[in-house]
Symmetry: C2
Subunit: 520 residues, 2 copies
């Protein structure tokens, strides 16, 4: 795979030596995977088998869905061209580093001014991969994209609560204790609709005691799970745990939310991230696609014609080009497709326009000092600000390194995101820096050089992810995912994994099944 | 620090370039830290300030406690010599790789026969660092030891339960649901000893609903937190969560234990590990200590003499040597010190002999295929076998790489450990391979080349960690941590952080305080 584009064949050993010199051990491991010692198909899931015959397909949109589809067709020997409007592949799978720039609709150009270092990057779109997303993980494996752990839940992270921020460990331990103590009472009140023997009951109470951190009387009176008031040392005095928080502090919404969110199936440990940035996945696809991928190619129109469909686009050089293909795979976000000049059915166009996309937004800061590690022993994970910034993400990599990039806001509530999006980039930075003060006193002086992305204002996405209503799911989803004449469709919105790269992968596979069945 | 031992001074840039060529970006980050751009003192805790005057101290035992003490004294300009019996520093902080060997008392030599690769290593001693262990983490930072996340709790890991193994996610979700539903009943029975308004009660029930994954009727009827019976795809059918497990399955001990263990203060996320093996910490100390550290120096006797104490040791060349120092810091595990020829007080010797050490044991396998990732999407974390092997640890690094080293047993129950230790190394491998079959069918055929360490049989440790009884803590702990004439003492057992490197660090700091006060 590597080197083939230049017609050269390297020996495995020579290649590995070169990779080791350039990128170290991790790069060697990655390359070994890419060299095909490992299977090229995903782990827990698999792309559909495509007929190995002469087919020609144009793919519009080089996000994950388009990349996956183009690569699978290319591997089957089909003649494929993938048109991507941006200068780089990936779509919302994007990473920002020194020298990169972002421009929202009607917004100024934001340039990333952080120092250049492998650990100083920001993923404004997808930033984590659940371990059970076998499609996207399989491509990481096949493309030799090295992965590392992303810390999603960190018990040292902070939660805004009445009276001031508290470490998540106190919230988790005290909630668990409170709920378990209540459960013991519920058990006494015959709460379990099961025939229980006396022995069962004893065992269940013992289990509840351990699980909840209760004392011998099955009461919650605090535990070291909540951290130390007096930490263990090497002195004579034994350590002393934190006393329980006032239950009314725990009953406010932020603590419950913070304590429950990482239970979600897509938020549970282990979560992963590509080493060096999420765009390493898109870059991996771009590498293997070679000249199949045409960047800077902004599609203007789609028309059904004799022999398929005609795609009109403006190339990177400004020239308008056209191509007719028997089949066209449209892998664009719904709001972008809705805005194109197409001859799609009236029903489809209406459904595309009606599908609401989240306006979710993120902002990153550079910090010269990793104050979250130095001052608060926070290594990765997420704090809850209780303000517009919503979440604050600490990097799960570059521990103890020189400086870091902090996600200073991750906002998904549409009203809050609209408020954020309406601000100029500099004002966003000022407001988010102030929000961080609620958790880290002195924060505003520690962070600098904000860069933000409000997805609703990004010209080639016009939203972060689809948000189906139940009625739309029943009526419009079957319509939008079905092919229409020469047109086929893919994208995270055409799956049940909304907002995840896995959805883009699975929708691409679904579209490939349709393409395989279509007349070439 | 780097290069100084050879009298050369490199420019910062030249050094970093060299490091980048040899070790890649992570090594550069690590080197930046070691170069002193970062403070040399730990983050959340600090070593005591030592008087900068001519002092001479002999340190016996080059585990973490001895290394920390020797380095701090060296930094203060004291004349220090550190005697370590093994050919390498670190004590129980140990990593095994291809070519290394292990020999227990009266046991055969076990040689590590796995392939050589950076990700193929085994930490038979400490293998994780909690994020709040500021002492040891501060030394990682100061020594430029790169850290990465260790996954301690992985919801994809397996738990042995009646009827067969279940993923931890099902156990966690269903237990949480069960307990929360019981808590709702307990709340109805007036279980919360708090004055609650009607509004409070509504809010608390809503919170319990989210936290527990309950339905609108506040009943637990299963949730996607427990994983998918029919995963989300890109088809027409919506995903379907796993149904709840029979509560009687959950009531067996292994599930509760597995579900609660990572709540412990020293087991919570974020947990960390040095990139490449725990012994990178010891190697970092050895590098900065230079010729202060004398390896292969097995101490034979300690005697009080005019001017301090005389230490007699056999060197790596077989010759017996002696040295008198005004102060001697003894940083040996209690059972090892109890076995030496010393003139320590009768009371101290009795207390040393009486202190029980855990016989904890670990075994590692090499696997050519990372079947846990490929077949079960398990990326790091711990499974519970319900058999002698107790826990099975998956590596938190080298994801998707060629092969892996799996911790095939981590046993801490003394009876089980004794049964394990009594077996010859090959028999241990056979039994543990069979135990793994309970979780991963075909396991025994996937794993090979076992290497095991039963700490009770390791000649220079004679146990994994101290296990104080409450009576010993009250009576013997003050005695053992107090200096005696020219003798001072350190080691994890002389702290409240039993079994953790942090305890060794804090005990070393405590000993340094005593040494600072002692007459030079």
């Amino acid at each position: 795979m590597i080197g083939n584009r230049h017609g050269r064949v390297l020996t495995r050993r020579a290649l590995l030596d070169g990779v080791a010199a350039a990128g170290g051990a991790r790069a060697v491991i990655a390359t070994l995977a890419a060299l095909g010692g490992l299977p090229a198909t995903p782990t827990m899931a698999a792309a559909p088998a495509l007929p190995r015959e002469a087919r020609r397909v144009l793919v519009v949109g080089g996000g994950i869905a388009g990349l996956v589809a183009a690569w699978e067709m290319r591997r089957a020997g089909w003649a494929v061209r993938l048109l991507e409007a941006a200068p780089r592949a990936g779509g919302r799978c994007m990473t920002l580093r020194r020298g990169d720039s972002v421009q929202e609709i009607d917004g100024p150009v934001q340039r990333v001014a952080w120092p250049e270092a492998p650990h100083l990057y920001f993923n404004p779109g997808p930033a984590r991969i659940p371990h059970h997303h076998g499609g996207i993980l399989g491509y990481c494996r096949a493309l030799g994209v090295p992965l590392e752990v992303l810390v999603n839940e960190n018990r040292a992270a902070l939660v805004d609560a009445p009276g001031g921020p508290v470490p998540l460990r106190r919230v988790q331990a005290d909630l668990r204790g409170l709920v378990s103590e209540l459960a013991v009472k519920g058990l006494g009140a015959g709460g379990l609709a099961l025939p229980l023997s006396e022995e069962d009951l004893v065992r269940l109470k013992e289990a509840l005691r351990f699980w909840g951190g209760l004392d011998a009387e099955l009461r919650y009176r605090g535990t070291s799970r909540a951290g130390w008031a007096e930490p263990p040392g090497a002195g004579l005095a034994p350590p002393r745990p934190n006393p329980p928080l006032d239950p009314r502090v725990l009953m406010s919404p932020a603590p419950w939310l913070a304590a429950g969110f990482a239970e979600g199936i897509d938020y549970q440990a282990t979560m992963l991230q590509p080493v060096g940035g999420m765009d390493r996945i898109a870059a991996g696809f771009a590498r293997v696609l070679g000249d199949v991928l045409v960047t800077g190619a902004g599609v203007l129109a789609l028309r059904r014609v004799e022999g398929g469909a005609r795609v009109t686009w403006r190339g990177a050089d400004g020239a308008v080009r056209q191509e007719v293909a028997p089949q066209v795979l449209v892998a664009l976000p719904a709001p972008v497709l809705a805005g194109l000049d197409t001859d799609l059915s009236v029903e489809r166009q209406a459904a595309l326009r009606a599908l609401h996309y989240s306006g979710a937004a993120k902002l990153a800061f550079h910090a010269r000092r990793r104050f979250w590690e130095e001052d608060a022993a926070i290594y990765g994970g997420i704090s809850w600000t209780g303000r517009d910034a919503t979440q604050l993400w600490y990097p799960s990599h570059g521990f103890h390194a020189e400086g870091g990039v902090l996600t200073g806001a991750y906002i998904w509530d549409d009203d809050v995101a609209a408020r954020f999006a309406a601000l100029a980039p500099e004002a966003r930075g000022a407001v988010m820096a102030a929000d961080g003060e609620a958790l880290h006193p002195g924060y505003a002086a520690e962070v600098a050089a904000p860069v933000s992305v409000a997805w609703g204002r990004m010209p080639r996405a016009r939203g972060a992810w689809a948000e189906w209503t139940a009625a739309q799911r029943a009526r419009d989803y079957p319509l939008l995912r079905a092919p229409e004449g020469p047109y086929h469709f893919a994208g995270e919105h055409l799956s049940w994994f909304i907002g995840w790269q896995e959805g883009a992968v699975l929708s691409a596979w679904n579209a490939l099944e349709g393409l395989a069945k279509a007349q070439g």
